[in-house]
């Protein structure tokens, strides 16, 4: 997309991100404490209430990939002994660190004062921060968020997370930042979070309209960027989501589709639900494969990894620690497979989908293991045809454009044939 084709919100977000990286670079001088943590289960409001700046390693990895830097970082990590078989986010991050820890925007990233290992929905997180701890030799707090193995968060699970935050995490933050825990400040942050979450949900649910004013997968990764990362609970975040909502509602009122790498998608032939993270190394090329066929994604699960707000959750300032426990527990990959199937089937119905597609990534077992069972189950429940394609998060070696394009084209032909009443084509 050319700069002048971009939505105003995209430009705004780019500026926010650049400013955040500038603040991070200056942190050693400004003495703003720095906390590394992960997107799912991130406690940004709490971190910010201590005046600390969050760094999200997954965001760095995906931003590096979008700028074409991840391949070299991964190769460097593998040369230093990391296996080809494991998560490319981790290797990209390790490679970036070894190359001087220069952020994707070109600024230098500061060392963490604290590693906040929010163990939410992904086993690899645990190893990732064990690896970073070896490099940074800094304090690490481990926050275990129990998995919703039975499809819900029990009172005991909630109490466990709440107690860990109160008895372990808050004292650690007090120690590294030199500030006392300020619950009023936290409540204010949470209040802003809830307001931004309202706006985000309105944006995501606008895809129920025809034509959809958003792409709820490729476009949504921009929309969820601020709220999944450093800006939830901030004034900038709040302003961004207000602006985004206005922008999307304006498009919806005018009957316009979203901006895509293939131009504005006003004529939408196929409405899809997508499961799994996108590929970041060839993001625009991948998106274009959809847009050129007139396919718009109306709902996705990846846009829920940092919170399932569309299922009703809002941060509650009246119960600051409990609400953070609820937030962590509800993140998409912390939900069991039957819950994930329920979400996909519900999306297919509520968003009037023509089909659903699983993009399976080699790196992420949390997402990928079991996806073929999800595929069959969603097909059974909805009667919609599913498609299954594979690549990776940030390892460019696993993106095969020709293969993906072939599969996608076949899938769209099948949808077309079904629409024409010709039945299912194998």
């Amino acid at each position: 997309m050319a700069e002048d084709d971009k939505d105003r919100s995209m430009v705004l977000q780019k500026e926010m991100l650049a400013e955040h990286y500038r603040r991070l670079e200056a942190a050693p001088e400004t003495r703003e404490p720095v906390v590394y943590t992960f997107v799912p289960g991130n406690l940004t409001e709490l971190i910010r209430s201590f005046g600390a700046l969050p760094v999200l390693p997954e965001i760095n990895a995906l931003q590096s990939a979008m700028r074409g830097k991840s391949g070299a970082y991964i190769a460097a990590a593998e040369r230093s002994g990391h296996s080809e078989d494991v998560c490319s986010y981790v290797k990209c991050d390790i490679g970036m660190l070894k190359a001087g820890n220069v952020s994707p925007t070109g600024t230098r990233l500061p060392k963490p004062d604290l590693l906040l290992l929010s163990y939410t929905g992904c086993y690899t997180f645990m190893k990732w921060f064990e690896l970073l701890r070896e490099e940074y030799q800094c304090p690490t707090v481990f926050l275990q968020v129990p998995y919703q193995g039975d499809g819900e968060q029990s009172p005991a699970m909630r109490a466990y997370v709440e107690r860990q935050i109160r008895e372990s995490l808050i004292p650690a933050l007090e120690k590294v930042t030199g500030r006392r825990y300020d619950e009023d400040r936290l409540r204010e942050n949470l209040k802003r979070s809830a307001a931004a979450e309202d706006d985000l949900v309105a944006v995501l649910q606008s895809a129920r309209k025809t034509p959809s004013p958003i792409d709820a997968y490729f476009g949504a990764v921009y929309y969820v960027g601020p709220i999944f990362s450093a800006f939830r609970g901030t004034e900038e975040g709040l302003a961004y989501y207000r602006a985004l909502r206005e922008e999307v509602e304006g498009r919806a009122a005018r009957g316009e589709g979203p901006a895509t790498p293939a131009g504005r998608l006003d004529v939408q032939k196929y409405r899809l639900v997508v499961e799994g993270p996108p590929n970041w190394t060839h993001f625009r090329e991948f998106w274009k494969m959809f847009a050129e066929e007139g396919a718009v994604v109306v709902a996705s699960t990846y846009s829920k990894v940092g919170g399932t707000y569309d299922l009703g959750f809002r941060h509650d300032p009246a119960d600051p620690l409990g609400t953070m426990a609820d937030y962590c527990s509800g993140c998409y990959t912390n939900r069991n497979l039957p819950s994930r199937v329920d979400m996909l089937a519900r999306y297919a119905e509520e968003y009037g989908a023509d089909g659903f597609l699983i993009h399976s990534v080699k790196s992420c077992n949390s997402f990928s293991a079991g996806q073929l069972t999800i595929l069959r189950e969603v097909e059974r429940r909805t009667g919609l045809p599913g498609s299954f394609i594979e690549s990776d998060l940030v390892d460019p070696r696993y993106f095969s454009a020709a293969n993906l394009k072939n599969r996608m084209e076949s899938y769209f032909q099948m949808l077309e044939a079904r629409r024409a009443g010709a039945g299912v084509v194998a």
Binding site: G81, L131, Y160, R163, Q164, N336, L337, S366, S368
Partner: protein, 388 residues
Amino acid sequence: MKRSEIVDWATEVCEDLEFGAARQWISQEPGRRAAGYLPVYAPREIIRAAGMLPVGVHGGGDRLEIIRGDAFYQSYICHLPRSVVELAQSGRLDFLSAVLFPATCDVIRNLSGMWQLLYPKLYVRYLDLPQGGEPELATDFWRDELAVLARDLGEASGSAVGEAGLREAIGAYNTARSLIRELYRTRRDAPWSVPTEELYLLLRAGELVPLEEFVARVRGYLAAVEAEPGRVRDRARVVVAGSFCEQPPIGLIKTIERSGCFIVDDDFLLGNRMLDADVALDGDPLRNLAEAFVRHSVRNSTLYEPDPAGKQRLIRDRVAAARADGVIFASASFCDPALLDRPMLKAGAEAAGIPCIAFQFAENTGQFQQFREQAGTFADAIKLWGGA
């Protein structure tokens, strides 16, 4: 009982992909039930206290042709779950009334959800083991989880789990753990007396039969070893690390020991040795089980390491305890816990001057020549030059 008879028995039990021993136990009395568990650690005491037979589900190894299982997994997922799905889809696990999926990795975690979808009538539970953090908090959490498991298994079996039953089960497993420690101690002190292949078969068979039978066989085996300790041999003493979940084919274990190495410590079937101390018998048995896990579980790749220097020290400590000469990192392909840990463990080993090599396997690996050459060269290097 002769050693060869015990080993033959263990081999037969392990090779029986129809789980005949467990099925036989169930058929002996009406109402008997069995509960399966996946690697690495499940609190088998609670299964026993519910009157059920705990059955280890470790996949079909190199003796099971995967026909249906591959349709459930992408090529970049390890072999174990597709093998377990194969066992289930072919009806070989239809005798199980419950299946437990411990928090080993995301693949096994998600397999619990697949089971819920594929077998909705079965009791399925994901065991969210406590990870690191404050021991008091972790113990409280795990005790609550164990209470839910005890309640549910009591309902599944029709035999409520009570304190007396739990104490009996804890005592029985304390006995088994003590014997397993003795087996490992014996092998460490005289590895020529206890080939790892035999030790492994015994442990694996032990996860498929009633505990009493396993205990009797191990006692018999230890007595046989004492009576016939075998001829002293000089080989490179190695620790094999990284095979705690998906198990190597028995041929690989044999290959390592036939290439000039004695395995003097390993991670095989680690759940048997996850608790390195007896579980207390007095007081609240569920709390005792919870505390034992939180405070006395062996450090390994599936658990968070709270000590910042822990990863660097782990191999050094294990090598020292086993009086080993070197380490073989043998991990299943695509095994996240083992492969993500490896750079840290290897760095620790190298910093301590411990020779090490690494390779990957799958449970159905059938060609061992490359491993023979690697392990043989490694053993030669240790013996000739004291390092790899």
